[in-house]
Amino acid sequence: MKFTIQVNTGPYTHQASDSAYQFTRAAIDAGHDIHRIFFYHDGVNNATEYSVPPQDDRNLQQLWSSLAAEHNLDMIVCVAAAQRRGILDEGESKKNGKSGVNIAPGFQISGLGQLIEGGVQSDRLVVFGD
């Protein structure tokens, strides 16, 4: 089955990002296809490379980035949601006169059309977080 995953909450306050990550991994292990993972609302905060949780805690951004690298996943961060919350790639940072770039490896900034396209192309769109 082909899945698109939507993640709507940031890491650590809620379990939704953990659950989405675990679901994605389980789906891949079971032989399913992950068409796309789309980060929306506060979910865009999963994409910051500047997060530094304690060493004995899981690092959700790194978990997502590794999973993406391992399985060549398409991980999209909504551009409007990301700009509101300070998640910037090189282009957006320059364009808006900011000094840093914090988007982590494996995440790409794109538009909401990618969410809709995911819904159209996939057998299931599974949403995590509210």
Partner: protein, 135 residues
């Protein structure tokens, strides 16, 4: 795009206080370009999103409620309001802005996009969804 799916967007939250109403509307408007079968549901505090005469300036927010009036131009004309949610909040249909579209199959007559539904009808709408997005 060849395949058409039914997208049901359920709007459950007040227009201000959280970002969900605004970010839901953004998805709906962008999604309109994909020419899917789109149904919008407003229930729980989500019915407040369509109330008339919103004036959020005092809380430093932009009044985006005018944007809903454009939905008809995007061919989004299946808008369902949960009657029970209106009743629970002491609202009637007259407290909501009118949302209309021009029916191309009926000489472009202007028609209301809004349908009041009960919980049973709501259940059928949810059941009709290929893609269900809750905001």
């Amino acid at each position: 795009m060849s395949n058409t799916k039914t997208f049901v967007y359920i709007n459950r939250k007040a227009p201000y206080g959280t970002v969900y109403a605004l970010e839901s509307l953004e998805v709906v408007l962008i999604g309109a370009a994909f020419e899917q079968n789109v149904k919008l549901v407003f229930m729980d505090d989500g019915v407040f999103q369509l109330t008339n005469a919103q004036d959020p300036e005092g809380i430093g927010m932009k009044n985006f409620s005018k944007t809903y009036a454009a939905l008809g131009d995007y061919d989004i004309n299946q808008i369902y309001i949960d009657q029970q949610s209106l009743d629970d909040r002491g609202l009637t249909i007259d407290d909501l802005q009118a949302l209309v579209y021009e029916d191309e199959d009926d000489d472009w007559n202007e028609k209301s996009s809004i349908h009041l539904v009960n919980r049973e009808q709501l259940s059928d709408i949810i059941d009709s969804a290929d893609v269900l997005l809750n905001f």
